[in-house]
C-alpha cells in the first residue's frame, strides 16, 4: 500500500498549526513596529519582549541574551565573524572548528582564512565524534574562537560540547556551538553547557523558514554583522520579524514540551536502523547510541544515493543522501569522508530524519520499501555483479 512519508526533518519541518496560529496576531492586529513609540508600536514591543522571555526560559538564560536573526546561517556567520573581529583586536587570529561542521560554519571559516585568520579543522573518529585530544592540541592562546556543532546534521552524532567549552575557556578563547540540529532534540540549558554563543533555526523545529536566533552570553562582546538601526540592543539591525519571532517562541515551547516524547522517536529510529541493517552490505553511519533521536544514516554499498532517493520519492518517501550526485558540488559528503567512509560507500548513503509526526506505520512502510529499492538498483549495478557471483 503506497503512502506518503516525510522523513527529511533534518532538512526542514512542517510548520505546526499551533505555530501558525501563534503568528497570526502579528500579521493582522499587532502590525506595529516594535521601535515605534505609539500604541501600535508598544503593542508589538510587548509581544516581542514576551517572546524573547519565553525563548530564554526554554534555553535557561536571560532574555537579554537572546538575539533574533533571519536564519541559522546568519546566526553562525554572526557568531564566528563577530567573534573573529573582536578577538583580532586582542591579537587572537586563530579559529578552531571541525571537519564535519555545516557549510554555514565551514564556509564562514574559509572566508575568514581569506582575510588572514588561520583555521584548524579538527578531525572526528569513525562515529563522527570530535577528537578531544586533537582539539586540545589545536587550541592555543592565539585562538579567538572554538566553533563545534552540538549535533551533526548528516549522521546525527552528538558532540561533547561541555568538555569542549572547558578546553576553549582554559585558553581564553570564546566557545560557539551551532545547535541548529540539536535544539528540540536535546534538552538544552546554555548555562550548564558553558558556551558563549549558540545558534538555532526556526524551520528545523516546526517554525517557519526565515527566523533564527543567537544566544550570546551576557558580558561576551562580539562585532556586529548587520549594521543599521538600533534593534536587538544595537547588535543586530533590521526591524524585528515579529510574526516569525512569535512562531519561534511557540515552536520552542512545544519542542520543550515534547522532549518527553523523544524516547518514542528514538525507539522508532532504532527499529529502522535494526531492520535496514539486515540488508547485506549496509552499515550505520554515526554513533549508535549518542545520536539524535530522529536520525538514521545508513550506507548501502554498490549503489548510488541519488537513484535511491528518486526511487524512494516515487514510492512516496522523502529522504536525503550524502552522495555527490545529489549536490551541485559533485563532492561526496564531507562528513562521511571525515569519518573515514570511502568515497564509493559515501555515495550510497541514505539519511532518514524522523520526528514526533512520524508513526509506526510510516516506519513499517520505510522498512518494507527500502530493501526492494536497494535490490533493484544493485541488480543493475556493475559493482554488484562480482559480489552476487561470489554469494552464489
Amino acid at each position: 500500500m503506497a503512502r506518503f512519508v516525510y522523513a527529511d526533518n533534518a532538512a526542514t519541518t512542517a510548520v505546526l498549526p499551533e505555530v501558525t496560529a501563534a503568528m497570526l496576531p502579528a500579521f493582522e492586529a499587532a502590525y506595529g513596529n516594535p521601535s515605534s513609540l505609539h500604541a501600535k508600536g508598544r503593542e508589538a514591543k510587548t509581544l516581542l519582549d514576551g517572546a524573547r522571555e519565553r525563548i530564554a526560559a526554554v534555553l535557561g538564560c536571560e532574555s537579554g541574551e537572546i538575539y533574533f536573526t533571519s536564519c541559522g546561517t546568519e546566526s553562525d556567520n554572526w557568531a564566528i565573524k563577530g567573534a573573529a573581529k573582536r578577538m583580532k583586536a586582542k591579537g587572537r587570529t586563530h579559529i578552531v572548528t571541525t571537519k564535519i561542521e555545516h557549510h554555514a560554519v565551514l564556509n564562514t571559516c574559509e572566508a575568514l582564512e581569506r582575510e588572514g585568520f588561520t583555521v584548524s579543522y579538527v578531525g572526528v573518529d569513525e562515529d563522527g565524534v570530535v577528537s578531544l585530544d586533537e582539539l586540545r592540541e589545536a587550541v592555543t592562546d592565539k585562538t579567538a574562537l572554538v566553533a563545534v556543532m552540538y549535533a551533526n546534521n548528516e549522521v546525527g552524532t552528538i558532540e561533547p560540547i561541555k568538555e569542549i567549552s572547558e578546553i576553549a575557556h582554559a585558553k581564553g578563547a570564546l566557545m560557539f556551538t551551532d545547535a541548529v540540529q540539536a535544539v528540540g532534540n536535546i534538552d538544552i540549558n546554555v548555562k550548564e553547557l558553558g558556551v558563549d554563543m549558540l545558534s538555532l533555526s526556526g524551520h528545523k523545529i516546526h517554525a517557519p523558514k526565515g527566523i533564527g536566533a543567537l544566544y550570546i552570553r551576557k558580558g561576551v562582546v562580539i562585532g556586529n554583522l548587520i549594521d543599521g538601526g538600533g534593534q536587538e540592543r544595537r547588535r543586530r539591525a533590521g526591524t524585528e520579524n515579529l510574526p516569525y519571532i512569535l512562531g519561534l517562541a511557540k515552536a520552542l515551547e512545544i519542542a520543550k514540551e515534547k522532549l518527553k516524547d523523544l524516547p518514542r522517536v528514538a525507539k522508532m529510529r532504532d527499529r529502522l536502523i535494526e531492520e535496514l541493517e539486515k540488508i547485506p552490505y549496509s552499515k550505520l553511519n554515526g554513533h549508535r547510541t549518542n545520536r539524535l533521536p530522529g536520525n538514521v544514516n545508513i550506507g548501502f554499498e554498490f549503489i548510488e544515493g541519488e537513484s535511491l532517493l528518486l526511487w524512494l520519492d516515487i514510492s512516496g518517501i522523502c529522504a536525503s543522501t550524502g552522495s555527490a550526485c545529489s549536490s551541485a558540488s559533485l563532492e561526496a559528503s564531507h562528513v562521511l569522508l571525515a569519518m573515514g567512509v570511502p568515497h564509493e560507500k559515501a555515495h550510497g548513503s541514505l539519511r532518514l530524519s524522523i520526528s514526533h509526526e512520524t508513526t509506526d506505520e510510516d516506519i513499517d512502510y520505510i522498512i518494507a520499501t527500502v530493501p526492494t529499492v536497494v535490490q533493484r538498483l544493485r541488480n543493475m549495478s556493475p559493482l554488484w555483479e562480482d559480489v552476487a557471483k561470489n554469494i552464489k
Partner: protein
Amino acid sequence: MQYSEKVMDHFTNPRNVGEIENADGVGMVGNAKCGDIMKMYLKIEGDVIVDCKFKTFGCGAAIATSSMATELIKGKTIEEALKLTNQVVVEALEGLPPVKVHCSVLAEEAVKTAVADYYTKIGKPVDFVIEKSHDDHDGK
C-alpha cells in the same frame, strides 16, 4: 532539481539492462569515487550492433543516459554508433539538469570504449578518440 519525464521514464523503466555473455565488446568507464560507473556490452555481427546491454552504478541521470544510449545504438552500424555524442543523448532525453550533463559524456565514452574493446579483440586499430569525462579525477 527536476528531471524531464523522458529521463524519469528511462530511469524507472530502463531499456536493455543486463549483461551479454561472450559479448564482442565490453566497455567500463567512470569510477566509484565520482559516483558513477557504466558498463556497456555489445554483440556485433558484421559491422552491426545487433544487441547492446548495460549495467550502471550511478545517479538517475547516469542510469537514464545509459538506457537511452543503448536504444540509440542498437541495430546501428559501428560507424553510426561512434557518431553518438553526449548532446544527442541529452536531446533524446529532452534535456538534463546542467550539473548532470557530465553523465551523458560517460554514456558516449562507454559506447566508444566498448567499440575500442571490440576492435582490439579483432585486431583492428582504434582509429577514434575517446573523450574522458573523468580526466580531472585521480581514479579510485
